[in-house]
Symmetry: C2
Subunit: 240 residues, 2 copies
């Protein structure tokens, strides 16, 4: 039975980290949110499952993954599940916890990236919080972005330079690819400045990008484009 | 060998979720950040471990827990580790993932609570972002706070009303106690309005509070007071 991925169909969002792992694992999955409503998909299918009173483990928000009867929510938690079942994470406890810890630092970083355009939250449009976004982004580009990228570069370096964890690909490598790709889209000027200081991270991005299944996925219609509805948004006024 | 907990000594912060689990488990631990520098503790001890070049798994930020040679970072990840080793979480995969998923929703919620007073981030003092904090908090109290508390009430209800997961205490129950206690401190007016609609959550808070080890901890000097340096801050102007 294929997995069912539930995520808003309007943009890559946090669901993309899950898609990359499923694609690299060659796991069969149905992207429910991107099916038409006539096919039983779309936003109504997501809301229906979230609000079904008979479900004892209702997720707070998408993305969530249905694996038979099991419903797993929270991006990093889904990746831990996929990692365990598709050899995309170490099997031992220490390695499993460390990979997940790195993913949770990605989660925190993704929230910061989101907040560059929405520091006051999703309740207000970007246009209603542009001045605040600018203040937030200045500090983000000056301090937080270099700090996070340098952190992952350090982890890569201490692990030999090719992978974040162990000697093979794990889901955290795939997530770092997405981070670099998204940051290049959103902040091309800032990334041009920072990239020379994190060469191993860039090399990891490049290596993931040409993995056969990832390359096939990126060239397929299953991969949505970056745009100004997702986490990574290109607002040139914030990238200065 | 006792665990070593590394967290900033200035306030409860995210470390408190870890302390509550360690205390309820009667696990031996040393709260390194709260030791004096002469005893090898304090902020220098935290920074020393974070910056030690020989550590292959450096945490991005406190809290982190040292268990022998293992270093586990990220609050929810630490709790998953403690849950597995001290019977504070189900042992089966589905139960383990579900408990952790709930904890990650707590992590997201704690970040929102933090952002009520610091929407533009920790780079600016509260006094430098009071207007933004007010805008953020209005939406938080009107929509986000009820949504999150109602979510946990629903999970409790569907699980029989006494525990979030299974039929015994888990770390997520302890974290929900801390959430309610902190929210009561920070937003007494808003909580007075909302509490009647989440009776099971309040009953859970009350039940955790009188667990013998938790009660002993709360009465001890190991428990710091809530104050205006932590996640939960009482700024009356935000609680309207």
């Amino acid at each position: 039975m294929p997995y069912e991925l539930y995520y808003w169909p309007s943009n890559q969002g946090r669901g993309e980290f899950v898609r990359l792992a499923l694609e690299d694992a060659a796991a069969e999955y149905i992207d429910i949110g991107r099916l038409s409503e006539a096919e039983g998909g779309g936003v109504p299918a997501i809301l229906k499952l979230m609000n079904a009173p008979e479900i004892k483990t209702p997720p707070f928000a998408p993305p969530f993954l249905k694996a038979g009867e099991l419903i797993v929510g929270q991006t990093a938690n889904i990746l831990m599940f996929i990692g365990a079942h598709h050899q995309l994470a170490p099997a031992d406890e220490a390695g499993r916890l460390w990979t997940h810890q790195l993913q949770l630092s990605v989660t925190d970083f993704v929230k910061e990236i989101h907040d560059t355009h929405h520091p006051l939250g999703a309740a207000f449009y970007y246009e209603e919080q542009k001045a605040e976004a600018k203040r937030y982004s200045e500090n983000f580009l000056k301090l937080r972005l270099p700090k996070s990228l340098t952190y992952f570069e350090t982890v890569l370096t201490r692990n030999g330079g090719r992978h974040l964890v162990g000697s093979a690909i794990t889901y955290i490598d795939l997530s770092l690819f997405q981070l670099v790709a998204g940051l290049r889209y959103a902040f091309p000027r800032a990334m041009a400045r920072i990239e020379p200081s994190v060469p191993r991270l860039i090399a990891l991005h490049d290596a993931v990008q040409v993995r056969p299944r990832i390359a096939a996925y990126l060239a397929s219609p299953r991969r949505m484009e970056f745009d100004e509805k997702g986490v990574f948004r290109r607002y040139p006024e914030l990238d200065e």
